[in-house]
């Protein structure tokens, strides 16, 4: 790890000002960033730590939505009675991220801003049609994820909260990479009045995406049988050491069917 300046603001406005002034990097749990810094793959000269910003933490209900502060830890989301009762699939997803240490340090805002192509939260945000709130605006899930490790966030913009509408049904199934235990393929399925969403993480060469062919089939018939035999296009899927695009495509269909069954059970 190289030496760096460490800043610990107390408020969102102070954090934004520090970020703009230092041209540094936000750290929001650091479960990806610190590892990269230790390997000298990342070398920010300034780190702006959001861990001391109290207003970023907490979970509340707003009508039919659950609003989660960006600084909320995965373990807190997993343990939240509000999340468990309104969107149990989201609580389960948070409880399955990384390991115990990661869940107690990592935050939802940090995960979404990082947009790791195999992270879990992007699947929930896209799969539930959530809204990202920042210090400047709100961004719809469909507009937020811009590719591997890329988002719609401006350099001086930071996530403050995420608003998840409670769906009628939802489930997330993660097929773990046997080495990293990240999602080799993760499929988040939800159904509510506005329709069906199927979000896929781990598989796409540009990060999380919606599997529209599966959504269309499930919109007509929300049952595991509806997706059977649907071939997901392999063109934009990853082939790497752990799986080919062909296998990932197959898993997306299988996991989508299983997620529908789980959501319906």
């Amino acid at each position: 790890m190289y030496a760096f300046e460490f800043h610990r603001p107390k408020s969102v406005s102070e954090a934004a000002a520090l970020l703009a002034k230092s041209k540094g990097k936000l750290i929001a749990g650091g479960q990806s960033l610190v590892g990269a810094m230790k390997l000298r793959l990342a070398s920010p000269e300034n780190l702006v730590d959001l861990g001391g910003v109290a207003e970023l933490r907490g979970i509340k209900r707003e009508g039919n939505a659950i609003v989660i502060g960006a600084g909320t830890r995965h373990a807190e989301v997993a343990a939240s009675k509000d999340v468990q009762s309104s969107i149990p699939a989201l609580a389960a997803l948070a409880g399955g991220i990384g390991d115990r240490q990661v869940r107690n340090m990592g935050t939802i805002g940090g995960s979404l801003a990082n947009n790791d192509p195999a992270a879990d939260y992007p699947a929930a945000v896209l799969g539930l049609g959530a809204t990202i709130r920042t210090n400047k605006r709100t961004i719809a899930a469909d507009d937020f994820f811009k590719g591997m490790y890329e988002t719609a966030l401006a350099p001086d913009e930071l996530i403050t909260a995420v608003s998840f509408p409670a769906p009628k049904k939802a489930a997330y199934i993660k097929f773990r990479n046997p080495a990293s235990r990240f999602a080799l393929v993760g499929v988040f399925v939800s159904q509510d009045a506005s329709g069906v969403r199927v979000a896929v993480t781990g598989a796409g060469s540009a990060g999380v995406f919606r599997a529209t062919a599966l959504e269309q089939a499930l919109a007509k018939n929300f049952s595991p049988d509806a997706v059977k035999g649907i071939k997901v296009d392999t063109a934009k899927l990853n082939t790497d050491l752990h799986a080919t695009a062909e296998y990932r495509a197959h898993l997306i269909t299988v996991l989508a069917g299983r997620a529908v069954a789980k959501a319906s059970s």
């Binding site: 790890m1 390997l39 097929f175 990479n177 046997p178 080495a179 990293s180 050491l241 752990h242 799986a243 080919t244 062909e246 296998y247 197959h250 898993l251 299988v254």
Partner: protein, 795 residues
């Protein structure tokens, strides 16, 4: 394995590990925990290329970096006439010619041969300063084409790793009677053939390698703390072959060591360089590998490609076995790299079977990869994998039950001379198989399979009836086969005046629990509490000598040396007791901690004899030296032959290819058991590693660039608790006939027996779908592709 209640010092009692209090409370002291006054830090600059010429190295910027004390390259080691790292086993090829032994320089001499090869060392005041300076070292490379696959390396036109090894061949070696084997095949009713790969593994001990060297100019001596399994061997090789130092001026200490699995047997460049550099800079020099360095620089394991053929008569009796293996040795010969695919492999191909004719050829290749050497089992897992896979395949082709084909071919009369050099002293393979079948509830398997089928899952049962050769080794036999070291062990029993005992053993514990097991052996023999015995190991300054721990040899060889020393203690004790009790020496019996005049109630306790030996007021000083301290060296008369049956039961999700191991049963014959709990722990650890190889672990290099693609836990899949079932383990005992404890060794069996059991089980599960063959590791995609009838595409 519920041992009956026994006295807490008795042999056969599950005495709690004496070392655990230390380890569980953070009291362990590993090499990196040692800090010496004035200590400096080394960081190695490693090759980023698999194969390249070094055109120029410019040190000047690195030397000017903050805190830098010195920068050394291959030019500096050459100027000091440093030797290359030696190989400890000379293999002679099929023509009787010695293997090719190209130089293995501790710092590269004009060329790098694998990613991670040592190019330079930076020594600085802090670790981070050394690492920062490393980035400033300018090295100009001329990148050359690389070859990482042993099969490719042996082909004409492949990039040449060493000038002194044409066609990248280190040796073409053979064992067995080719003519007799050909004759057996000529009369065969059926021949089963397989082509299989034994996947390359990275050891991953929890403690990365580390070395801390200190030169004392007052007496011109060196002390090296090093994470190592055999400090005397480390010292011998380093002083005699590399640095030319007087052996008595070098003390090597291997303190607490956090796992080795073989990877810490070897003499590594880093150990040599920090020792040498500690004199150059006149400061203690510490190096500790980070995990990425461990992936690149710890010797790897396995990496065989094998074609095997098994000839049978119409009843499935084995007539002959023919094996051709291509073994990857990596870029250089590691300390025992040459012996692993030869004498530790070919000699095991008889397995538990009476196959009368066996012929094996091994073609060993240099490649642009990290050196390959012994890794838990070392050659024996590779042999077992070949044999147990082909036997299972043969059973399917012959339409025979998996257990039945094994039973028909078991060796039942001992001693048994195999056609591949070994002489098995004893075993009872059928009883192990019977017991394992009961443990695994084989009788209930059809019902479980039918139940799984209803859930859409495929169940399978896989057998492995393995044997290994442990207790390395009769030194004269090993020497005749090319070993350049003895393979005895030394032990010293130091009885203190008050009757407590310190044991000095040449074996080395890095997780095996010797401090407990060996203490039990001594306590039981002397009739004293186990708490009164401490075991010291891992220090050339304290032990008489030692060959270290590997190849499941510690209890069989190290324990036997301790028993021999105890014989001497007892003999001297009898002389002292005879004097004290005023009886003839021949009338003294030693039992339950007391020396007794036979047939009387006259006795003196062991402690009384000890006290008398050190306070010799009433003592036969005219005939006997005072003191009670005995040393023994033990050279084994034969290998030991642990053997057993492992049965895996798996359930496969045919939709995804995911394999779950639902049951794993192991019945092992380790001879007599000293501490059942420790043995069970060793079996569990071995099974986890073997299942790791079968299911998850795979070292992959990029075929073009030679880059290690699985260089971290993001890509190298290690087994975790959730991947493993709750093991069912038991033992069946036939005591070893030729060592005093009747023991055979238990450290590697789990890793040897389990991989073929798992793979055979998955093939059994998928056979109804037409699957005949699978390669390790059984990743979900590989299994799914096999079910789909698609060729494997993933690494």
């Amino acid at each position: 394995m519920n041992a009956p209640e026994k006295a807490q010092s008795a042999i056969g009692a599950s005495v709690r590990r004496k070392e655990d209090y230390r380890f569980l409370t953070g009291g362990g002291k590993y090499t990196d925990d040692v800090t010496l006054p004035g200590q400096s830090y080394a960081y190695f600059v490693r090759s980023p290329h698999a194969h390249a010429k070094i055109l120029k190295i410019n040190k000047s910027a690195a030397l000017k970096a903050p805190g830098v004390i010195a920068v050394y390259t291959g030019d500096d080691t050459a100027a000091d006439k440093m030797g290359g790292l030696p190989c400890g086993w000379l293999i002679k090829d099929v023509k009787g010619e010695p293997m090719k032994e190209p130089p293995h320089p501790p710092l590269a001499q004009g060329k790098v041969r694998h990613v991670g090869d040592q190019v330079a060392v930076i020594i600085a005041e802090t670790y981070n300063q050394a690492k920062d300076a490393a980035e400033l070292l300018e090295v100009d490379y001329d990148v050359l084409p690389a070859v990482v696959d042993a099969v490719e390396a042996l082909k004409p036109g492949a990039p040449q790793v060493h000038d002194g090894a044409p066609n990248n061949r280190c040796y073409l070696w053979s064992l067995g009677d080719k003519a007799a084997t050909d004759a057996a095949f000529a009369k065969a009713h059926h021949v089963t053939k397989i082509d299989i790969t034994n996947n390359r593994l990275i050891p991953n001990a929890i403690e990365p390698r580390a070395a801390l060297a200190h030169y004392n100019r007052a007496d011109e001596s060196y002390t090296l703390y090093v994470a190592n399994q055999n400090p005397h061997v480390e010292r011998l090789l380093m002083t005699a072959f590399v640095l030319g130092l007087p052996e008595h001026k070098v003390r090597v200490i291997a303190p607490d060591v956090g796992g080795g699995f073989g990877s810490k047997i070897f003499l590594y460049a880093e150990d040599v360089i920090v020792t040498w550099a500690s004199k150059k800079v006149n400061r203690p020099v510490k190096w500790t590998a980070d995990r990425s360095e461990a992936f690149l620089s710890d010797a790897h394991g396995r990496d065989h490609h094998t074609h095997a053929e098994l000839a049978m008569d119409k009843d499935g009796k084995f007539l002959g076995l023919r094996v051709k293996t291509i073994a990857n040795l990596g870029a250089y010969l590691s300390t025992f790299g040459s012996s692993v695919p030869t004498y530790l492999y070919g000699t095991l191909l008889a397995g538990q079977y009476t196959t009368p004719a066996i012929y094996v050829e091994v073609d060993a290749a240099f490649t642009n990869t990290t050196p390959v050497d012994a890794y838990r089992g070392a050659g024996r897992p590779e042999a077992t994998y070949v044999l147990e896979r082909i036997v299972s395949q043969a059973a399917r082709e012959m339409n025979l039950d998996q257990a039945e084909i094994r039973r028909r071919n078991f060796i039942t009369a001992f001693p048994y001379q195999t056609p591949v050099a070994l002489m098995y002293d004893i075993g009872d393979y059928k009883s192990c198989l019977d017991k394992a079948q009961k443990l695994a509830d084989v009788a209930g398997f059809p019902a479980r399979r039918a139940e799984a089928e209803k859930r859409g899952k495929k169940r399978g049962l896989g057998y492995s009836t393995y044997i290994e050769a442990c207790g390395l080794a009769p030194s004269n036999i090993a020497g005749a086969l090319g070993a350049r070291a003895g393979l005895f062990e030394a032990g010293e029993i130091r009885v203190h005046p008050t009757g407590s005992v310190t044991v000095f053993t040449g074996s080395h514990s890095h997780g095996q629990g010797h401090e407990t097991t060996f203490a039990q052996v001594v306590a039981a023999r002397l009739g004293i509490p186990v708490e009164s015995v401490d075991v010291v190991h891992g220090d050339t300054g304290r032990m008489p000598f030692g060959m270290g721990t590997y190849g499941s040899r510690s209890i069989a060889v190290g324990g036997a040396a301790i028993m021999k020393a105890l014989d001497k203690i007892e003999a001297k004790g009898k002389k002292i007791a005879a004097h004290l009790l005023e009886a003839a020496e021949s009338d003294i019996e030693f039992k339950d901690g007391k020396f007794t005049v036979a047939g009387t109630d006259k006795s003196v306790p062991f402690g009384g004899v000890a006290f008398s030996a050190y306070v010799p007021h009433n003592y036969p000083l005219d005939k006997l030296e005072p003191g009670l301290n005995e040393t023994a060296f033990y050279d084994p008369g034969n290998f030991t032959y642990p053997a057993g049956t492992h049965i895996a039961e798996v359930e496969v999700d045919p939709e995804t290819g995911v394999v779950q191991i639902v049951n794993f049963s192991a019945v092992d014959d380790f001879g007599n058991i000293i501490n059942p709990m420790i043995v069970e722990g060793q079996v569990h650890g071995g099974l986890a590693q073997g299942i790791g190889q079968a299911m998850l672990e795979n070292c992959v290099y990029d075929q073009e660039t030679g880059q290690l693609l699985t260089g971290s836990y993001m890509d190298y899949a290690m087994p975790r608790a959730a991947d493993l079932p709750s093991f069912k383990v038991d033992t069946h005992v036939t005591p070893c006939t030729h060592n005093p404890l009747g023991v055979k060794g238990c450290g590697e069996a789990g890793a040897i027996g389990s991989p073929p059991a798992v793979v055979n089980a998955v093939i059994d599960a998928l056979a109804p779908l037409g699957v005949k063959h699978l390669e390790m590791p059984l990743t979900p995609e590989r299994v799914w592709r096999a079910i789909q009838g698609k060729p494997t595409k993933v690494a």
